[in-house]
């Protein structure tokens, strides 16, 4: 009886393997793309162009949310992960570290792919680290500052038309503070609904933490000064966050508003560039991007797919209303909704940020710790800016020094 049961079980087990084996045999070559966030029209066009050259290669899209499973698939190579979608704020490890460790391919190695960049505006700053171009952008989010023009007029503030500095911003904050003291009306200088940490700290991280080189400057005086000033702004009630983090809205009493958002959200609102620490500072830009796994056995197909994805034919179908126009010519005219919804000024600002961008950095757990523990403790006065900076530096040293 027992032997019979065992035999039946073994037979069933063997039988269960057959469909998988036959399915594998049917599919032939497969190009696997993990965690792509690309919109369907552009992706479909790229797939169409791809299949014109590789008709027998199937494109398979998969989603892997577990960081350890993703790491295993990428390191194992094989059939599992040819092209990988990366979004820093949802990943445990920054793309800069993966690039440093050789997991991502430098796309500059492929001249035909690199040549396609010529068709586009110079939007590749946020997917290039140390001269290595590691990804093709899929979607983009920026931090432009929206302005309440009524309040700006009321306080007599000349809205800047180009780059402006952090010193200008602190002066503006001082002016608003004085006005609040003199009048009964209370104005906020900035409503900041950036992801996890306030915008200025995203900008500092993006410009001063080099995960690729393994260097972080959290303990610099400039960072401590920034923390001190942010604390002062909070103490004077000049900054706030939206209570509804899911559907944030600009408050009527806020002069400036920022959040990481697609172009469509800005619409025809009056927007300005974010203030910069110095002339050399760049703007942090966040994006969903596609990279080639250095372990892929289908390198030729993967590179060709990237060529299709970055081709003008595919980019013309890019959702310009959300991501802006990346092609130098022709893209905006193809989308009437885009022309009606977004002002030309905002499109120009959007492109200006992209052309002067760095990747928005999420260094392992550090941004989360800052959001969860350090910022509340700083603003409640439980820790000093120096302690905040020291703890951040210690975490960064650990993350980058391992």
């Amino acid at each position: 009886m027992k032997t019979g049961c065992c035999l039946v079980l073994v037979f069933l087990l063997l039988l269960s393997l057959f469909p998988a084996a036959s399915a594998h045999a049917e599919t032939g070559r497969t190009l696997t793309i993990i965690n792509s966030v690309g919109d369907s029209a552009r992706f479909e066009k790229a797939a169409e162009l791809f299949h014109a050259r590789y008709p027998d290669t199937k494109i398979l899209q998969r989603r892997i949310d577990d960081a350890r499973v993703l790491a295993t698939e990428i390191m194992a190579g094989g059939e599992g992960a040819d092209i990988v979608g990366l979004q820093d704020s949802f990943m445990t490890v920054s793309a800069a570290i993966l690039l440093k460790n050789g997991a991502l391919v430098d796309l500059n190695r492929f001249p035909e792919l690199a040549a396609l960049k010529e068709n586009c505006l110079d939007i590749f700053g946020f997917v290039t680290i140390d001269g290595r171009w590691y990804a093709v952008p899929e979607e983009i989010e920026e931090h432009l500052f929206r302005v309440n023009t009524t309040l700006a007029e009321k306080i007599g503030w000349q809205i800047p038309s180009g780059r402006w500095s952090m010193d200008d911003f602190w002066e503006l904050a001082l002016r608003v503070k004085r006005m609040n003291e003199e009048t009964e009306e209370h104005i906020l200088v900035l409503q900041d609904d950036s992801f996890l940490i306030p915008y200025f700290f995203h900008a500092y991280q993006a410009n001063h933490v080099d995960a690729f080189a393994g260097r972080a400057d959290y303990d610099a005086q400039a960072y401590i000064d920034l923390l001190t000033r942010w604390k002062e702004l909070n103490e004077n009630g000049l900054v706030c966050q939206s209570p509804d983090r899911v559907n944030p809205k600009m408050r009527a009493d806020a002069l400036l508003y920022t959040c990481r958002c697609p172009l469509s959200v800005l619409g025809e609102d009056t927007c300005i560039l974010p203030p910069c620490e110095s002339d050399a500072s760049k703007y942090p830009v966040y994006g969903g991007v596609l990279s080639i796994n250095a372990n892929t056995p289908h390198m030729e197909e993967a590179v060709y797919f990237m060529r299709c994805y970055l081709s003008p034919e595919a980019l013309e179908r890019q959702y310009a209303l959300r991501d802006g126009c990346w092609l130098k010519e022709g893209q905006a005219a193809s989308d009437p909704l885009f022309i009606e919804t977004v002002s030309d000024e905002n499109v120009t600002l959007w492109s200006a940020v992209l052309e002067n961008s760095v990747p928005e950095l999420y260094l392992l757990d550090i941004s989360r710790e800052q959001y969860k523990t350090l910022f509340p403790a700083l603003l409640e006065g439980r820790i000093s800016p120096e302690r905040f900076a020291a703890v951040s530096q210690q975490l960064a040293d650990m993350a980058l020094g391992e």
Binding site: A71, M75, N101, A294, L364, I366, K372, A377
Partner: protein, 271 residues
């Protein structure tokens, strides 16, 4: 003769199945780990010689993790062993309460680590700003709460097996409770004591999960274990460093095991 040979073949067959399982699931992966520890990375297929070993053995955080593993091992396992010994003796002395105590001691093993970690986080207010002393205390109490029970149950079972006549005879000869415990009970259950110590050491090696749930990927420096190093290197896709660290730890454990065998072997000979 034939029967003997058949029995031998049967025994060999019975041995072969688990042995092949052990070989496939433990020995082969270990050999692969050793192989990968000499690779330059998971991506270029090159060889790095001993560079990975040099890298990890000169890396500040690998050494910190190793030191902390040994430190927390000593500070957690020895008190847990002493406590489990005390509890087992108390259970022997108060047999009526033993059944209830066994349930209470076994309960922590059934509670998911996530729930326990959340409770500890609330009680000790654990975050990145927690002072090192409090962080260590949280870790220490969690280990005691979770791991003392099984060790105490092993010791209690061993103490129950002791012949009552022998202990009563010793008491009639004027042996006090302390002398009875340290002079008779403990020497008689020394193998079980060793077993519970090994059990505690194993629990300590698995305790990383709880430390991770309490402090995340980057705990305070005092809590950073070698498992943090290996886990973080894996997430960074540095398989070569994970393999080198794993191979180094395997060698260390093997060395300690051989040393323990040597020491106990000499002691047995003396006896």
């Amino acid at each position: 003769m034939k029967r003997k040979t058949r029995l031998r073949i049967k025994l060999l067959a019975m041995w072969l199945l688990p042995a092949s399982g052990f070989f496939a699931l433990y020995v082969v992966p270990l050999l692969w780990t050793f192989r990968y520890s000499f690779a330059s990375s998971a991506f270029d297929g090159g060889q790095a010689g001993f560079h990975n070993y040099v890298y990890i053995w000169t890396n500040e955080y690998f050494l910190l993790g190793l030191r902390n593993l040994l430190k927390t091992g000593l500070t957690c396992c020895l008190p847990a062993f002493a406590l489990s010994l005390l509890l087992s003796v108390l259970m022997i002395r108060h047999e009526a309460a033993a059944a209830f105590a066994l349930v209470v001691l076994f309960l922590p093993l059934l509670i998911p680590s996530v729930c326990a970690a959340e409770l500890w986080k609330k009680v000790y207010k654990i975050d990145v700003l927690t002072p090192p002393g409090t962080a260590l205390m949280a870790l220490f109490t969690l280990f005691l709460w979770k791991c003392t029970g099984p060790a105490a149950i092993v010791l209690y079972a061993a103490l129950r097996k002791l012949e009552k006549e022998v202990l009563e005879a010793a008491m009639l000869d004027g042996c006090g409770e302390a002398r009875l415990t340290f002079g008779m009970r403990l020497p008689l259950i020394r193998r079980e004591c060793a077993l519970s110590l090994v059990l505690l050491l194993l629990y300590h090696l698995r305790f990383y999960k709880d430390v991770y749930l309490l402090y995340g990927l980057y705990p305070p420096k005092e809590m950073y274990l070698v498992q943090h190093y290996m886990n973080n290197q894996y997430l960074k896709m540095n398989a070569q460093y994970v393999s080198a660290a794993g191979a180094s730890l395997a060698c260390l454990c093997l060395g300690l095991f051989i040393l323990a065998l040597f020491v106990t072997g000499r002691r047995e000979k003396k006896c």
